[in-house]
């Protein structure tokens, strides 16, 4: 069955998957075009959450709890990554205000 029932609404699962794919792509584009490292971090979180949506959709569709389990794990991991990421960024902001990620280009070649 590919229908997902929420309340009385029946929706085809592919809508959720398409929404997730769009969110993923928006996140990826955000990474390519935004300059502020904090926003880029948020974009990464967006991508991860898009995947979480995909996972739970599949889980509902397949009647199988592994996807939910995976999503829970992924949320935990994303939280940890956000904490560490913010920590690193705060650390670097203490030394200088980095508004553009391209200012971090001393390492190259």
């Amino acid at each position: 069955m590919s229908d997902i029932t929420i309340g009385n609404e029946h929706l085809d699962a592919s809508w959720f998957l398409i929404l997730a794919a769009l969110l993923f792509i928006i996140g990826a584009i955000g990474i390519l075009v935004r300059r502020n490292p904090l926003v880029i971090l948020v974009c990464i979180e967006l991508m991860l959450n898009a995947v979480n949506l995909t996972l739970v959709t599949f889980s509902r569709q397949l009647q199988n709890s592994e996807g939910q389990l995976f999503a829970l794990m992924s949320i935990t991991v994303a939280a940890a990554e956000a904490v560490v990421g913010l920590g690193i960024l705060v650390d670097i902001f203490k030394d200088r205000e980095v508004e553009d990620v391209d200012e971090l280009s001393e390492l190259r070649g």
Binding site: T5, L17, F24, G27, A28, I31, P37, I40, L41, I44, M47, L48, A50, V51, T54, L55, T57, F58, S59, R60, Q61, L62, Q63, N64, S65, E66, G67, Q68, L69, F70, M73, S74, V77, A80, E81, V84, G85, G87, I88, L89, D91, I92, D95, R96, V98, V101, L104, S105, E106, L107, R108, G109
Partner: protein, 500 residues
């Protein structure tokens, strides 16, 4: 409203079962226990004692993990509802990572003191990263692979920025964090799609669910693509390698040494586990993807390395090229291909870590000395280091009778045996190019300098680790049979659907 059946798995979980499962992951458990102990002791001990004590705890934990892994040889099976496995493949990598961790402690101890870094925190992060690597090695499900991957990556993000006063180190951390997060999202999405296509995250079950129509399943193919891209990023294969030179250069030297071997080996464990074990029916597709990546890595890595003047960057590009060589073995597949991959990763551990370890010893209190000119006259300043660095370079270049030669031989032989001759020819040609830049390093080592009197003091632990790596680089090349036997034993995962 459908209640999702939790009854897929048995709900009863006996104490015996728990004990048996714990035994299967005992190498990881040992590392985690050491991590917790080190973290707690860090709070109660006086500051002076923190460094040595946490180093000792780390080494003890890693040794325990090593022993635990050795005890699991030929006795492993799946555990935790098949989410983990301790087959010989996993055990091989457990041993590799435990040895890597011990070597890393040995070379970083004096370095941390000299540069006045926080010591206990470093070891805790090192243990966390090692635990992540071992989780990847023992993972039998996409979920556990992702967990291990993130555990490893997050620890490494922090470690790259460990020199907090150094802006370059911070830059490395930010770049690694953002690129790594980006790549992780790809891997995760790929895994989600594979899960959607096959209905399971367990790797053996994925393999079982593949049928004749799988190769036209768009979800699976997209999943392979996204995972392949993410994995290629983790092994630093071109064209997903851009982070590697920057992060290697910016990160403190022991971190570079650790991650140059650690992430690469862990990522290869992941690739073999997911692709070769989980998706054997689609080997044509992922092999093509990896062949493209391998060819690009060998070309980009070797050509770019010629232009480098920083040893860290040179070795980073060399690592990109080496990833390409190892991919040849992965693509070849089969028992011999996988054995050659395992053999080469072990070889890479001794030779590449050895080379970085020597650079660790060269570092001064103010920072790393990694210009290629900093190696001038090394052999006159410290003959042992000079000769060993030469050995490591020759081994990386693949000169017989070093272990690097043997490793390349096995990889390329497997490649030819399985019909990837064009890739092997490219690999041989590019490894000839590589001689050019490895030799540049050797020339600098043997260039006499006026300041030859400036003798270099070698800390005992680091010296021991470097000498051990050097001896192994030659000895395993002359008598490779033992290691190759182990690699062959590890190459055929016993992971089945039964057990656990």
């Amino acid at each position: 409203m459908v209640l999702i059946a939790a009854a897929t798995y048995s709900v009863s979980y006996s104490a015996d079962q728990a004990w048996s499962d714990l035994q299967q992951v005992s190498p990881i458990a040992a590392v985690v226990v050491a991590l917790l102990v080190a973290m707690v002791l860090d709070l109660v001990l006086p500051r002076r004692a923190q460094g040595p004590v946490s180093a000792a705890i780390t080494v003890i934990g890693l040794l325990a993990s090593l022993v635990a892994a050795l005890l699991l040889i030929d006795r492993g099976h799946t555990a935790y509802y098949q989410f983990a496995v301790a087959d010989n493949f996993a055990v091989f990598f457990d041993v590799l990572f435990a040895v890597l961790g011990i070597l890393a402690v040995a070379v970083s101890h004096a370095y941390l003191a000299r540069r006045n870094f926080l010591q206990a925190e470093f070891y805790v992060l090192l243990l966390a990263a090692t635990a992540g690597q071992m989780v990847i090695a023992q993972a039998n499900s996409l979920v556990s692979i992702f967990l291990g991957l993130e555990l490893l990556s997050i620890a490494l993000y922090v470690m790259s920025g460990f020199a907090r006063q150094d802006f370059r180190s911070q830059e490395a951390a930010v770049k690694y964090l953002l690129m790594g997060g980006f790549a992780s999202a790809f891997v995760l999405y790929g895994m989600a799609l594979v899960y959607g296509a096959t209905g399971t995250t367990l790797i053996p079950a994925i393999a079982k669910s593949l049928g004749p129509g799988s190769s036209t399943n768009a979800l699976l193919l997209l999943g392979i693509l996204l995972m392949g891209v993410g994995f290629a990023f983790k092994v630093s294969a071109a064209p997903f390698q851009m982070w590697t030179p920057d992060v290697y250069e910016g990160a403190p030297m022991p971190v570079t040494a650790f991650m140059s071997v650690g992430t690469k080996a862990a990522a290869f464990a992941m690739i073999v586990r997911v692709f070769a074990t989980g998706l054997p029916g689609l080997s044509g597709e992922w092999a093509a993807l990896l062949a493209f990546v391998a060819a690009a890595s060998m070309i980009v890595g070797n050509l770019a390395a010629i232009a480098q003047s920083s040893v860290k960057r040179l070795l980073a590009y060399s690592g990109i090229a080496q990833a390409g060589y190892v991919l040849v073995g992965v693509i070849a597949g089969g028992a011999d291909g996988q054995a050659s991959v395992l053999f080469y990763l072990a070889a890479y551990l001794v030779m590449n870590f050895g080379a970085f370890a020597i650079m660790v010893v060269l570092a001064g209190p103010d920072g790393d000395r990694d210009r290629i000119g900093d190696l001038d006259g090394l052999v006159y300043r410290n003959p042992v280091l000079g000769v060993l660095m030469t050995v490591f370079m020759l081994s990386l270049a693949g000169f017989p009778p070093s272990v690097g030669f043997m490793g390349k031989f096995f990889l390329f032989a497997a490649g030819v045996h399985h019909g990837f001759t064009w890739l092997v020819v490219l690999a041989v040609l590019m490894s000839v190019v590589s001689v050019y830049y490895y030799f540049r390093v050797v020339i600098h080592i043997w260039t006499p300098v006026e300041a030859a009197e400036r003798r270099l003091r070698l800390p005992a632990a680091a010296g021991l680790a470097i000498v051990a790596a050097g001896v192994l680089s030659v000895a395993l090349g002359i008598v490779p049979a033992a290691l190759f036997g182990l690699a062959q034993a590890g190459a055929v995962p016993v992971a089945g659907l039964g057990g656990g």
